[in-house]
């Protein structure tokens, strides 16, 4: 590909950030419009890639390759395949949504939007990099903006939460870096595609392969997050500003799942297979334990954060069930969860914005005063509990279907059925939430609250539209995802 689409997509936000930094602080409107313009442009570009993507070809497309650090053979190597393209589109879409969601920010507007755009670059870079070192670099780039965004524009114990996020992520990154270096020393390259294709497992001892696998896995597990590395998530979500919660739930978590597939499973298919039972069991813990803990949350944001943990369990299950359908489902689940939970956080932000309350027992009957928010919240909630016609169902169904049929993991059928208990639990807390917050008689103190304004309506309804689109015709995405998944499945020796 001659035209450097990916470089432009990745670096356009950062250019926007620089531009915003140069704008006068006194003109927040211009800053917001600049941010919106840049994120929209990036989204449009990624969408055009989505349509130009050739679903007949396996392997990376729109590749850009240049030598970066010749001494260690590190390259500036960008490309997207069926795994990363959906994530890229999701990230650019949510990036745009995040700017819209932040329209009411009035504290240090310039810095806020600049950091938001830098964050977007970091995330996009992760999904586009095919060089491990570059991947790691982008992975780290995202941490600083997150820290600042949470600790400056957050609420509650924001410094604690921001610090917790950073320390958790860095601890994971340290493991991952060790893994990446070991890969480099034993594989001789940072090129992910080459590493995946060289059959590294056979060349090194099982113990070493296992060690590298788990070093990398823990790095991603912190991000996903996998029990017991999940406790940063509720805190970070609860205290982050709305847009950051949207990005955090919508994209950052997906980096973990993406990394697991792209690095762990691709490079170590054998180890993945050996430890699949363990990891699937961990996925079940995530699903059921996450859902169980969700029931006890009183804070709206915290509740949704815990539900994310539960939903990410499906991703883990889908990945380590190691079948094409389940892995496709896992990626679809990441996409779908990004939209659904992003939307839920945006809605919680709206509710909080209007009522200044996030404590569920204090809310009630809001549907009367904010019908649109209530309707969209219900749709998002129903999507989260996997109602057919929404992306949540398509994704969870594929995960379960693929897992059930998987032949590589012992006892996977029992595990899958246990995992399906999660859909009942999810229905429980989601409906309970809707009932407590929106239904019933309206409380007197909320008589004056207003519904979403035009911009907010546009934001949330556009997300609903995508959720429904994927739910009704998931082949839009699965046709692309399966192209990315099939080489990995092939390497599993099926």
């Amino acid at each position: 590909m001659d035209f450097p689409y990916l470089s432009i997509i990745v670096f356009l936000p950062v250019i926007g950030a620089i531009l915003i930094a140069l704008l006068p602080q006194a003109d927040p409107r211009r800053i917001k419009f600049t941010a919106a313009f840049f994120t929209l442009a990036v989204f449009a570009l990624s969408l055009s890639l989505f349509f130009m993507f050739d679903t007949g070809l396996e392997g990376a497309q729109f590749v850009e390759r240049a030598s970066w650090i010749p001494a260690i053979d590190a390259q500036y190597f960008l490309g997207v395949d069926g795994l990363s393209l959906p994530m890229l589109v999701l990230a650019t879409f949510l990036g745009f949504i995040a700017v819209l969601v932040s329209w009411k920010i009035d504290l240090r507007v310039r810095e806020y939007f600049a950091w938001l755009l830098v964050l977007e670059t970091g995330v996009l870079g992760v999904f586009c990099s095919l060089d491990l070192l570059l991947f790691f670099l982008f992975w780290e780039v995202e941490i600083l903006p997150m820290f600042l965004l949470i600790s400056i524009w957050g609420t509650g114990r924001k410094e604690y939460s921001a610090m917790k996020f950073v320390i958790f992520t860095l601890a994971g990154s340290a493991m991952m870096l060790a893994g990446i270096l070991l890969l480099y020393f034993h594989g001789g390259t940072f090129d992910m595609m080459e590493l995946a294709g060289m059959g590294l497992e056979g060349a090194i001892s099982t113990l070493l392969a296992t060690a590298i696998f788990f070093l990398l896995f823990i790095g991603y597990a912190v991000k996903l997050p996998v029990f017991p590395f999940h406790t940063w998530l509720p805190d970070a979500h609860t205290d982050a500003p709305t847009a950051v919660s949207v990005i955090l739930a919508g994209i950052l978590l997906k980096m973990g799942g993406y990394g697991m597939i792209r690095v762990c499973v691709s490079i170590f298919p054998g180890v993945s297979q050996d430890y699949a039972v363990l990891l699937v069991a961990l996925a079940l813990v995530n699903i059921i334990y996450g859902a169980a803990v969700t029931f006890r949350q009183r804070d709206l944001k915290r509740l949704i954060a815990y539900s994310s943990i539960s939903h990410m369990g499906y991703v883990l299950l889908g990945i380590f069930a190691l079948s094409q359908v389940s892995m496709t489902g896992a990626i679809l689940q990441m996409f779908s969860h990004g939209l659904i939970t992003g939307l839920l956080f945006a809605l919680v932000g709206l509710v909080y914005d209007k009522t200044h309350v996030r404590d569920i027992p204090q809310l009630g009957g809001l549907a009367r005063r904010m019908p649109i928010i209530a309707v969209v919240f219900s749709v998002a909630g129903l999507a989260a509990l996997g109602l057919p016609g929404t992306s949540g169902f398509a994704a969870e169904f594929l995960v379960f279907l693929g897992s059930f049929k998987s032949t590589l993991v012992d006892g996977i059928q029992t595990y899958t059925i246990l995992g399906m208990v999660g859909i009942v639990l999810t229905a429980g807390y989601i409906l309970w939430l809707l009932q407590r917050v929106f239904y019933g008689p309206i409380k007197a103190q909320y008589d004056k609250v207003t519904d979403a304004n035009r911009l907010e309506q546009f934001t949330i309804i556009s997300m609903v539209a995508v959720i429904m689109l994927i739910g009704i015709y998931p082949a839009v995405l699965t046709d692309i995802i399966k192209v990315g998944v099939s080489p990995i499945i092939a390497s599993l020796g099926l």
């Binding site: 917790k164 320390i167 958790f168 029990f227 017991p228 999940h230 406790t231 940063w232 334990y289 169980a292 803990v293 029931f295 006890r296 094409q324 359908v325 496709t328 009957g365 549907a367 009367r368 129903l382 109602l387 057919p388 016609g389 169902f393 398509a394 169904f397 594929l398 379960f400 279907l401 693929g402 059930f404 049929k405 059928q413 899958t416 059925i417 399906m420 208990v421 859909i423 009942v424 229905a427 429980g428 409906l431 309970w432 809707l434 009932q435 929106f438 239904y439 019933g440 008689p441 309206i442 015709y473 998931p474 082949a475 699965t478 399966k482 099939s486 499945i489």
Partner: protein, 644 residues
């Protein structure tokens, strides 16, 4: 017939939903009556098309029309195709759904008149009808599951239609959750079957099941999983608790969704998958046992309820139990080889669905009657009614017809299908036959208890200002024509639907009009029914016996029934609240915050404490540092001397 016709049947109500929610609600909210018209028109058209389909199917060989299908999803060798199935079963169900739905929509235009959520109501109703039709037409388990959940969603939305009432909101949540527990099994069964056979297509599954290509254990488990979905949807024991609470929704909703169609989807599902069930004796025995038990179990609770809709709700559960029993006992016959396979498959479906068909008419009639009564009195409590025969003659007559029909009096509709079920129960499962017979007596008693308390005697309602579900101030007069007319039509159907050759069309046997009277079972059941009616008359109309003293004599039993065997308490208070939410979940939450996060914070705290301790080494005394440096140097030198 163009292949688009079945699709159009489904899509018309769906477009009605789209139009109402995206055009009328946002832009034409001042003219909500448009919503009612559009819904009625689209469903009316669907009914006409359904009749066309019925005509086509009846003339097609084997009563099956083949239809094209479309690929929905393909990943590797997993391909999911969506298509429609048009056979006798689907055609009958289409008629049931569209006709009852049409009548209910007409009725609703009167009942819901002036409600602020008028358009929303019709949007949901259209959506429900669309999903229900989709469910009926589905040709594979995935799309069936999709619509299955879709109707559940609409049920949730419509039960919670008056969401500002806490009871309605709670009932909606409960309905969704309880059915979802059943759906869990259903979904598991779908996946299980797929993993064993590699297909979702219902027709192929039938072939494989009948050809013995699926192992016996697999079939049993799959059938039980599917049945658990049916248990949830059709409110069979032990997942029956949601249906009585679902009466919090508007009454026409109860008539359509919670009497005629959606709750019958469970029966439809079992009928649709009948070859799978009939291949496993365990599965069909389970179906029959659950059905038979639920029939009598729900009837006992219906005996003592004072809310007219709740009586009808328990009656619905009981009748659904009958249908399950019918399917189950024929299935037992097939599985025991007492009935030849080729006969049995059609027969089972016919026995179950024929009752479903009749029940749809007379039960929705009864519900509409209850709604009409409520429209006038503003209450559902039969203790506050009475004497309405005089003010609401049409309601009275239609309600009476419905009651006689459900009780199973010759030659009304209920008689024909109930006789079929009882006959086969007698043939294949005698124990369940006796349960069913007792249920006949109970049914007669509780239905006529309602009839006498509501329509006979004197009006007992005291407060005319009691605000009810209807937006109108209650005033004792007959309901408007728009409500009475659908009831009239349904009353006619409740008489004649049993005479239609539905059973033989589905592959079952049919009886001649008078030939049925030759069966002793028919006479026994009618005598039992008459005794039930007589007892109700004696207690509530003629007052020969005091219902009060009867209740006192059977006080423990009465309490047991009226408290619904404490099953709600068991589920909600004990299992959900005590054991889960306030039990295990608290424990896990504690574990999460104290142990998991505690370890994290403990490590952080430990680092801080260690830092504070180690900080003391930094005395700021130069010489101490100097000593440390040289001790280090010495250590290095020592290392060299020893190892180097």
């Amino acid at each position: 017939m163009p292949s688009g016709v079945p699709l159009a049947i489904f899509l018309l109500p769906f477009f009605s939903f789209i139009v109402i929610s995206f055009i009328i609600r946002p832009f034409l909210n001042s003219k909500p009556q448009l919503s009612g018209y559009i819904t009625t028109a689209s469903i009316g058209t669907s009914l006409i098309l359904s009749l066309w389909v019925l005509a086509e199917v009846s003339s097609a060989p084997g009563h099956v029309l083949s239809m094209p299908d479309y690929e929905w999803l393909a990943i590797g060798d997993t391909v999911i195709r969506f298509g429609v199935t048009v056979d006798a079963l689907a055609a009958i169900m289409l008629i049931v759904v569209t006709s009852v739905s049409l009548l209910v929509q007409v009725y609703s235009q009167g009942y819901m008149h002036g409600d602020p959520g008028y358009s929303r109501y019709f949007a949901f109703m259209s959506l429900f009808t669309a999903f229900m039709l989709g469910l009926v037409l589905a040709d594979n388990l995935v799309s069936l599951y999709v619509f299955w959940e879709g109707v559940g969603l609409c049920s949730y939305l419509l039960i919670g239609f008056w969401f500002h009432r806490p009871a309605a909101a709670r009932a909606a949540t409960k309905a969704f959750l309880v059915t979802r527990i059943g759906d869990f099994g259903f979904l598991a069964a779908i996946l299980f079957l797929y993993s064993k056979t590699g297909t979702f297509d219902i027709g192929e599954l039938h072939h494989l099941a009948l050809a013995g290509a699926i192992g016996g254990t697999v079939l049993t488990w799959a059938a039980i999983g599917i049945f658990s979905g049916a248990i949830g949807k059709s409110a069979q024991f032990p997942l029956h608790t949601w249906l009585p609470d679902a009466m919090e929704g508007p009454t026409p909703v109860s008539a359509l969704i919670h009497a005629a169609t959606m709750v019958a989807a469970g029966i439809y599902l079992v009928a649709r998958m009948f070859p799978v069930f009939a291949s496993s004796l365990t599965a069909v025995t389970t179906v029959a046992a659950i059905g038979g038990f639920t029939a009598i179990f729900a009837a006992t609770m219906a005996l003592v309820m004072n809310d007219i809709k709740r009586v009808l709700a328990y009656s619905t559960i009981s009748q659904l139990g009958y249908m399950m029993l019918g399917l189950g006992v024929v299935g037992i016959g097939v599985a025991n080889d007492a009935i030849p396979l080729e006969v049995g498959l059609g027969l089972g479906v016919a026995v179950g669905i024929f009752h479903l068909f009749n029940h749809a008419f007379f039960k929705s009639l009864l519900f509409l009657g209850a709604g009409s009564v409520n429209h006038a009195t503003g209450t559902f409590d039969i203790r506050e009614m009475g004497g309405l025969r005089k003010v609401m003659p049409w309601t009275y007559i239609t309600f009476l017809i419905g009651s006689l029909s459900i009780v199973g009096i010759w030659p009304l509709a209920g008689f024909w299908s109930k006789e079929g079920i009882l006959d086969h129960a007698w043939d294949h499962q005698t124990a369940l036959f006796f349960l069913a017979m007792i249920t006949v007596f109970m049914t007669a008693f509780y239905m006529f208890r309602v009839v006498f308390l509501t329509f006979a005697g004197e009006y007992r309602g005291s407060n005319a200002g009691h605000s009810g579900a209807s937006a109108h101030a209650p005033s004792l007069r007959e309901s408007p024509l728009v409500m009475v007319a659908p009831m009239g039509i349904l009353a006619i159907l409740a008489v004649i639907s049993g005479w239609l050759p539905v059973s033989s069309f589905l592959g079952g046997e049919s009886e001649s009009f008078f030939g049925a009277l030759a069966h002793p079972i028919a006479w026994v059941s009618m005598v039992l029914a008459a005794l039930g009616i007589l007892l109700a008359y004696a207690l509530y109309s003629a007052k020969w016996l005091s219902s009060e003293s009867l209740r006192r004599r059977f006080a423990p039993l009465h309490t047991l029934f009226s408290r619904k065997y404490w099953i709600d308490e068991l589920y909600e208070r004990v299992i959900v609240v005590r054991v889960l939410v306030d039990g295990i979940f608290v424990l896990l939450n504690w574990f999460d915050t104290r142990i998991v996060d505690g370890i994290v914070n403990g490590i952080a705290g430990g680092t801080i404490v260690a830092g504070k301790g180690i900080r003391r080494l930094q005395t700021g005394q130069l010489q101490a540092y100097g000593i440390a440096i040289f001790v280090g140097v010495l250590a290095i030198v020592a290392c060299f001397l020893i190892f180097g």
